[in-house]
């Protein structure tokens, strides 16, 4: 048992206990603590009186304000929808040409389209819509399935190789793996395909390889990509004469493509986004491409 002492520094007495050299002062609780406690308790009690708080068996005290978070949020959602109503109604009713002609509607399309695109499309196509390996650049003029607002809208609706019954379907066959072309022929086709978009590659290639490649291309590839290699938007076959590549235009990537084939996937958005949202996205992309 310790002895009660007076602490010379604070002038307070100790409690008389000591543990391993530690003592305690018997200082009174500062008044400000009680004040502080009173203020916070008053705040709490006021809130309890005004808001739903205490459980009473199967119900609870509703509070004088009669506030309920579920009702608040329901009303807010309704009010927000009403606020958007004037322009959503117009977008739903008008066709693409009319909306494009309406400057004020297009302002809303651009603002809303940015967020819609960012939240739904950017994960694959990038926030700037420039795509990445395996995901097409949407800011170019090189469209797989057509670049009109109607065509873009349809692609968004049904997707590509998706689960939608009306899905757009396209497949690049695995010429190498499935033994449709021997490796030597594939190499020639690659040389030819590269020459379509790259004049330097054309000059560097041996003329006989180029000629053989062209022949092989006409026999095996032209049915989808066209005699001139400019692709076919009816079939989703990419244009091979521009310098935009979905997977890449270097020899190794082209070999991968020709050897094992490609079957890109874009989900259907019909069940995930409203018609108005899909229309906005189609217009947003069309508009984005229209302005450099």
């Amino acid at each position: 048992m310790g002895v009660i002492e007076r602490d010379p520094h604070t002038g307070q007495i100790t409690t008389g206990h000591e543990w391993n050299g530690i003592k305690e002062l018997n200082s009174p609780v500062p008044k400000v603590i009680y004040l502080f406690l009173a203020v916070t308790v008053l705040f709490a009690v006021t809130w309890w009186v005004l808001m739903p708080t205490w459980p009473l068996g199967t119900t609870y005290t509703r509070g004088l304000l009669g506030v309920d978070q579920r009702e608040i949020v329901t009303e807010k959602v309704k009010a927000a929808a009403a606020g958007r109503d004037p322009w959503t109604r117009q977008i739903a009713a008008k066709d693409f040409k009319d909306i494009l002609a309406d400057a004020s509607l297009m302002r809303t399309v651009r603002a809303t389209g940015h967020t819609l695109f960012g939240d739904n499309c950017a994960a694959c196509h990038g926030l700037n819509a420039r795509g990445s390996k395996g995901f097409p650049n949407l800011t170019s003029d090189s469209w797989l399935w057509g670049g009109s607002p109607e065509a873009i809208y349809e692609t968004i609706r049904v997707g590509i190789n998706s689960a939608h019954p009306e899905t757009r379907t396209a497949q690049m066959p695995a010429f190498g793996r499935d033994q449709m072309l021997p490796r030597a022929d594939i190499d020639k086709v690659i040389t030819y395909v590269q020459s379509l978009s790259d004049s330097a590659a054309q000059l560097a290639a041996a003329p006989d390889v180029l000629a053989a490649g062209k022949e092989l291309f006409a026999a095996n590839c032209a049915s989808c990509h066209g005699e001139d290699g400019k692709g076919n938007q009816e079939l989703g076959a990419p244009d091979l004469t521009d310098r935009l590549w979905i997977y890449g235009g270097d020899r190794q990537t082209l070999l991968d493509t020709l050897w094992a084939g490609r079957q890109g996937h874009m989900p259907t958005w019909e069940t995930r986004l409203s018609e108005v949202d899909r229309k906005i996205l189609a217009l947003y992309l069309f508009d984005k491409r229209a302005k450099p």
């Binding site: 530690i22 200082s27 960012g118």
Partner: protein, 550 residues
Amino acid sequence: MIAQLTRNERQTALLILLAVAIGGLAMAVGGRDNLLGIHGAIAMALAIVMMFVVIGGYYAPEPTEDRTASYYDDPTKVGIIIAMVWAVIGMAVGDWVAWLLVFPDMTFDAGWASFGRLRPIHTSGVIFGFGGNALIATSFYVMQRTSRARMPDQVTPWFVLLGYNLFCIIAATGYLMGVTQSREYAEPEWYADIWLVIVWVTYFVLYLRTLARRKEPHIYVANWYYLAFILVVAMLHIVNNLAVPISLTQAKSYSLFSGVQDAMTQWWYGHNAVAFFLTAGFLGMMYYYMPKRAGRPIYSYRLSIISFWGITFFYMWAGSHHLHYTALPHWVQTLGMTFSVMLLVPSWASAGNALMTLNGAWHKVRDDATLRFMMVAAVFYGLTTFEGSFMAIRPVNALSHYTDWTVGHVHAGALGWVAMITFGAIYASVPWLWKRESMWSPRLVEVHFWLALAGTIIYVFAMWNSGIIQGLMWRTYGEGGTLAYSFVDSLIAMRPYYIARAVGGLFFLLGAAIGLYNIWMTIRSAPEAAYDMTPDEPVVAGMPAMQPGE
């Protein structure tokens, strides 16, 4: 260390290890087609290694009877080293995942390197590995000294410390392999949870047994807090982990609760883990090491009492503030919010009591980085509890919730309060335990202090900025009444703050690594023969424990 155990205790230790090894073997065989089997094998392997350790010292001469005249500190020493090792591991993984948020592709396409698996290694590593081991180690130290009694036996503390670390290892390896029950801060699966219950109840009983032997008529405040920590964590752990395994040979289990009840149980656990693990336990630490190091009496015994009961009472209600604006009924949210606001009073009373204790010792705070660690911890404790009460207010939470502000708040508490008080306590204990005049390098303690403080401030400021920007971007509407920013826009806006945060974290990690080095060098340095150890011993060895009121 084995030499300190009696022959009987060595046998008991072997039996316990044999039981663990057999249990591990059963799990390894029964769960051979499942990740549970790997955990069984790990448990068995560790138990066998420990058996070799015990057998290696089995024929060492028995300790002499006069060991009971001193406190039993071997588990504390080992616990402190383990805690510091976990600190470095946990903080390193934390900084790793911080960089992962800056460079999200840094996963090598491997499952184990994904954010979802590494992040719980960070959280469990620092909370349970570092914090938990530090609490266990210091509680052994403090309970013996403030009770003036040695622990009743020498096997139980080892069982608690090593058993707890077996839990930590099972937890961390499980996360890497994808074993998780997806409950934040309670990720380990059912078998690890059951093991922790056994260890934890043993810990609680050990504490009570030591207190029962005490030769002080009164129980010191630090013990109230340590006991509250042990008791309530047991309760939280058991209730939140009630689950049904899909089979006894498989790791997966399903929670007994579902839907919003499940969410409420989880956050009742989650917030009280903050309250009783990260607050009460470390307040116990603070109540011993701060007055001891400052050489000052506790400012006010009365303030200690109202703070203790205020904290234990108010915290229990506060968990639902994690579920504002969710499917949780509005009235439950109101209760969580209002009790969180009232909680500020006992929290600040504790912080105030700590800081007022330093009156008369501020010159020591200026000169002694160890004491300064504890002072800054008390300041951060006050700041964080204010911020917490503020963020619990529903309209404030509408902005802060799900943002980095929450992350910043947690780290203000975890780095500023929990880690700083622990570093202070460890730097104080190491020379006492290993009988040295001071740490190997007081200068490095000083370096650690400034790295830790700078790291914390960088971290917290980065997350405040990032969190508030995020919160505002998420709720900004354009003219047309649709959201102005996509989620990706907000990620781009956060990137600079993520870099700053990772740098702040790196500072903090460096500090901890320097601390571990300094501790190691202190242990390796030559002990001083003249070290005065008399005040540290129980007064009368072998004297029957005095009963309260005697």
